[in-house]
Every structure is written in C-alpha cells, then in structure tokens.
C-alpha cells in the first residue's frame, strides 16, 4: 500500500534525535524515526508518553530542545506553523464555532492562490469526500461528534498537505462509530495519497490502521515496526505487554544448540525449548513470553518438546473463542485462547472447569526477551 518509491534515498520525513524538555520534565527523549511517503504511521503509547508533544513539534507549535526534523529533505527548524506543508487534526477537532462547516473547510484555502470557483470546487470535493455536503451550511454545534470529526479531517485535507498529523482522531467517538471511521480514514488516505501520522493510545486501532507503528513509553520510542512485527516479534517485555495480552515468565538459558535454546523456568519448575535468538548466552536470565492464542490445550499428553500439566481454573466463553486460565502445579496462572471451531453445547469444549489438561506450544511461538 505505501507508495514507497523503491530505492528512494531520502525518506519523506526524518526525525533525528529529537528531544523536548518542559522546565525540568523531559517529555520526548531522543526520538529518531523515518516515515515514507504515503504511509500511515502510528505513534502508540499510554497517556502522557509524549505523543502529542512529538506531533506538535512536527506541526511547528513546539521547537525541539534538541534534534532535527527533515520534511521532504528540508530542515524544519525555525519554520513557523503557518508555512509548513503539514496540517494537523486536533484531538478536540478545534473547529471554528463562528463559521459554517463550509467556511471551516474553506479556511485554509484562502491562503492558496486560486480562483473563487476553484476554491468552491475544492470545498465541495472535500465535503463529498467525507460525505457531509448536505451539512455545508450548519455550524459545528449543529452536527454530531462523528460529523465534526469528518469536518476536521476535510479541513485539514483541503489544502492538500504533504503530511497530515492526526491526534487521537477516533478517541472522542463511540465504539461502533470508531470501527467504521477507522476504515473510512484508511480509504480516504488511500484515495488522497497523503502521508498520515496518527497518534493513538489504542493498540487495536494502531494495528488496524497502520503500515508501521512506533511504540512509545515515557517519551522514548521502544520499537518501530509493522503491526505484525510489533505483535509477533516484540523487542521488550514492555512492548510485548502493551500490545495484546501475553504470558511472561522469568527464565534462565541452560543451553544453546542447533538453532534451539533450552530454558528453565524456576517458578514453574519446568524446562522448555524455544527458537534461538541472537545475543544470548548460556546462564543468562531472560524473559519467556507466549501469546495466549499460541498455546494449545489438550486432554491427552501432546507430542513435542514443550508440554506442561495444569488444571482449568477459569474459563470465559466469548462465542467465537474462549479464554482459559490454567493453573500450573506451581500455582502460576497461564492464559490460553482456544477457538471454538466445533458447534455444540458444553460438551464440545476442549476442557471444562477443574479439568486436568495439557498445555503445549511450538518452540517458534515462544518469544525470548533478553532485555
């Protein structure tokens, strides 16, 4: 999907070692990343981790304390917000309350050198794009939250920015509208080809929307990658835990051979095998992490290296799948997801409360974190 010219030397946006200090508080710490043209890039992180601050530095509202920002090869230092080819969709939408929807969308265009007719055409085109043509004459307080969000989007896109910054674009919408709007955002991004940087604290939203995600924590970028990379190959316990749910165990590497790691889990009194990763040595303390859906539950002893005994402590039925909480003999609880592939009443389930079961997983499914 990204219209990423292969072999293009300079990335569209390059952030180099950017930091921002407010008084004595460091809101953004030494962030470096690049964004390709036409990409949807997400900044994902909890509240207060500096996402908005980073976005505001891109828009020009804050000057970085250190580091540099290049957009399309141009150093943005000292360029005021009104001369940047970057537009922002504010978290509160920031629509002008004294102007109609149409005037709001047209606002940026008055700085463009274009005829009145072209301007009106562009406004109409933008309102069509977000399906708000029939609300052109309303004031912002006369339309719904979802419509306001689309006015904000149309206003930000009207001047055809090179880069669109969206600060929590869906946070103010209710769940159902949010899912619908997610896909609309993606489709609008594809049709316009504008590069999007989306700030969100919602990991599912980031996973659905983005070509790539930067996971942030306390002002730092912890990992950058595609949704799959972030989910399947987290580089730290923090990222692993932030995206989706995961079981983590302290482990010690006992042996490393033939592309496999042997680990012992002291809390469980168990030995497991995982796929080899670089930079670990025998004797090292590591974290072993396994996603719940990668754990198999069976009543009979499974084949293969990684099998643990346990009993069903808790079970939540969601329809398409069930979440089990299995107590190991050591008392540790392990979460496992099982798809309810067969149709039927309770008898069709893999296991029931207090059943003794076996847990197993592939060596390749186990994530070894050496942090």
């Amino acid at each position: 999907m990204p219209a990423d010219a292969p072999g293009a030397g300079e990335p569209f946006l390059r952030i180099e070692g950017v930091s921002k200090v407010f008084g004595t508080f460091q809101a953004v710490k030494n962030v470096s990343l690049t964004v390709q043209k036409g990409e949807i890039f997400s900044l994902l992180g909890g509240s207060g981790c500096g996402k908005t601050t980073l976005l505001r530095m891109l828009a020009g509202f804050e000057e970085p304390t250190a580091g540099r920002i290049f957009l399309d090869g141009r150093d943005m230092a000292g360029v005021p917000p009104w001369s940047r080819p970057v537009h922002m969709m504010f978290q509160s939408y920031a629509l002008f309350p004294h102007m109609t929807v149409e005037k709001n969308v047209a606002y940026g265009l008055k700085h463009e050198d274009m005829s009145a007719k072209d301007r009106a055409d562009r406004v109409r085109e933008m309102l069509d794009l977000v399906q708000l043509s029939q609300f052109a004459a309303r004031k912002p307080h006369q339309i719904s939250g979802g419509q306001r969000q689309r006015v904000a989007l149309a206003r930000a896109l009207a001047r055809q920015p090179k880069l669109l910054l969206l600060d929590e674009p869906l946070a103010a919408l209710d769940k159902k509208l949010r899912e619908h709007t997610q896909f609309e955002l993606m489709s609008i991004q594809q049709r316009t080809g504008v590069t999007f940087i989306v700030v969100t604290h919602d990991q599912e939203e980031a996973m659905t929307l983005s070509d790539r995600i930067a996971v942030m924590d306390k002002g730092e970028v912890r990992q950058i990658g595609s949704p799959t990379e972030i989910y399947e190959f987290p580089n730290s316990r923090f990222v692993a835990g932030f995206i989706g749910s995961i079981n983590t165990f302290d482990a010690i590497v006992t042996a490393r051979d033939a592309g496999q790691l042997r680990l012992t889990l002291p809390a469980l009194g168990a030995e497991v095998t995982a796929r080899d990763v670089p930079h670990v040595t025998a004797g090292q303390s590591v974290t072993l992490a396994i996603r719940p859906e990668k754990i198999r539950i069976s009543r009979d002893a499974p084949e293969g290296p990684n099998a643990l005994r346990g009993s069903v402590k808790d079970l939540a039925y969601f329809g398409k799948d069930s979440l089990y909480r299995i107590a190991l003999p050591s008392g540790t609880l392990v979460q496992a997801h099982a798809v309810n592939a067969r149709r039927g009443d309770e008898g069709a389930r893999v296991a029931d409360w207090d059943d003794a079961v076996w847990l197993s997983f592939d060596p390749a499914a186990a994530i070894v974190l050496a942090e």
């Binding site: 509202f61 922002m88 920031a94 606002y107 700085h111």
Partner: protein
C-alpha cells in the same frame, strides 16, 4: 403530558424559583419603571410657580407637549445631544482601542500575574470617583507638573511660533473625553476579558496550522468571537458616558454642555421640571432603541445557531 423531566417532590421547588426569579423584576418595577413613569408624567405637565413646580390641567392642557417641541426646535438641546453622543462615541472607541490589547494581554498571562493585573484594573474603584476627577483637574491645570511637562514637550517638537505658555486642557471637550476614558476603561476591559478568556487557544493554533499568520488569526478567529464582549463593553461605556453629569460639570466647557448638564440645570437652576423630564425621556429613548435592535438581532443569531 409534557416532556419535561420528571421531578421528585423534593426537587419540586417551583414556588421558590418563581420568587427568586421574580425578585429582580419587582426591584425593576419599584425602582425603575415607576420612577420612570413619574418622569414621563412630569414631562407632559406644565411648569407653574408652585411647589412642586408643575401642574396638570387647570388653565393648561392635561397633556402639554411643549417641552418635547422645544427639544426639537431649540438647538441648545440638539447641540447638547450631539455633543453627548459624540463624546460618548469617542470615549467608547478610545476605551475599546486601549482596552482590547489590555484584555487580550490579561488572557495570555500566567495565572498569578493575571490576578494581580485584574486587581489593578479594578483598584481605582476603591477611591472616590470625585476624588479621582479632582485629581485630573489638578493634573490638567495650567501650572501642574503634568501640564508643564506636556508644554515643554510640545514646544520642543513644534516650530517656535507655535510655542505656548501652557496647554489649555481644562474646561474643554478634550478634558471631558480624557477623564471619561480614564473612568470607564475598566467597564470595557472586564467584559472584553470575560469573552476573550473563554476562547479556546487551540482554535488559534488550528488557524495558524492552516496557514494564517498571528495577525490573520486575530482577524479571523479572535476578533469575531469577541464581538459579544465588544458590544457589552461598548454599551457599558457609551450609555453612562452619554448621560454623564459630573465629569462635564467639573472639567467640561460650560458653553458646550452635555445633556446630563442640561437636565441638571433645568431641574435645579431653571426649575423647569417638565423640560428636564422631557430631555431625560428623550435621552433614554435614544439609548434604549439601539440596544433593543441589537438584542433583537443577537437573539435571532442565537436562535439560528
């Protein structure tokens, strides 16, 4: 069936709320409407050498419109009205030009400074108004340090033949406007501050983000949204300034009086109460009509929002 929210018996305080809402109306009726009706009645009475110095009927018509006729024909009254409106309008515009930047600056200050500055804006109210006008009289007098300083300054910048011994500030329209601007400035600043303070600063950023320089942001976003504050401040300055009595009496030019002075003179010196009442009624009508037109359009704008 009405679609009002249901009230429990504990919430049903309708009786009380009627009394509380009604109190200001009772106040207005007793202390504004009734006296005003008395003034209207006096304005159509006839001046007689009695006590009180007017009477109805008798040898004279029951409703005597002579006073109103004189307002329209005697150019003393027309001139006084025009002087008042002009002085009030100039004071209002000057208050706006001075007060707007001050109110805007107040909204951009840190909370601590803002409270100190707001205190300073209302501090003059803590000394007697008369005392402050007398202070200005002292400042504007021929031998005051203020006048001497301004005179030296003037003589320094103008050619020699324009030099003056002192600047004749007292007893002029200039003095009236100067003191009125000084007196009424807080009445402009406070409503402006109240309306500017409510504005969302992200709107300024949004406009800037869409390509507007700070000056354009002010023109497109800040100014249009502060119109209610401008109107409120404008009325709070214009209306009392137009009827001002004390300032023109103390520092103004007696040959070119403002309407408040005329009303006072008719009552006290000429003892022509019907004339004084008629001028007062005319002034009120002149002030109320534009206010009502504005309120009407404002209400319409609110309704269509």
């Amino acid at each position: 069936m009405t679609d009002r929210a249901p009230r429990t018996k504990y919430m049903d305080r309708r009786g009380w709320s009627d009394i509380i809402i009604g109190a200001p109306y009772i106040w207005l009726v007793v202390f504004f409407l009734l006296p005003f009706l008395i003034v209207v009645a006096m304005s159509v009475a006839t001046k007689t050498p009695t006590a009180p110095p007017f009477s109805f009927g008798g040898d004279h018509p029951l409703i005597n419109l002579d006073a109103y006729q004189r307002i329209l024909t005697d150019d003393l009254y027309l001139r006084a009205f025009l002087t008042s409106l002009a002085n009030a309008a100039i004071s209002m515009v000057l208050c706006l030009l001075l007060g707007y930047p001050m109110a805007l600056a107040l909204t951009r200050m840190s909370r601590g400074w803002r409270n100190i500055m707001l205190m300073l804006v209302i501090l003059p109210f803590w000394t007697s108004f008369l005392l402050r006008v007398y202070a200005w009289m002292g400042l504007m007098g021929r031998n005051s340090w203020f006048n001497v300083m301004l005179t030296d300054w003037w003589n320094f910048i103008v050619p020699v033949d324009w030099a003056v011994r002192s600047i004749p500030m007292m007893n002029s329209n200039f003095a009236v406007i100067l003191v009125m601007v000084y007196t009424y400035l807080p009445f402009m600043i406070l409503p402006l501050y109240a309306s500017l303070e409510r504005l969302d600063p992200t709107l300024d950023e949004a406009a800037m983000d869409l390509g507007s320089t700070p000056a354009q942001v002010f023109r497109d976003v800040t100014l249009p949204q502060s119109i209610p504050g401008i109107v409120a401040g404008g009325m709070l300055v214009f209306i009392p300034a137009a009827g001002e009595l004390v300032i023109p009496t103390l520092v103004g030019n007696a040959a070119d009086p403002m309407i408040g002075r005329v009303i006072s003179d008719e009552f006290a010196s000429a003892r022509d109460w019907p004339m004084a009442s008629a001028v007062a009624v005319a002034l009120l009508v002149l002030m109320v009509i534009p206010t009502m037109i504005y309120t009407h359009f404002q209400g319409r704008a609110e309704g269509s929002k």
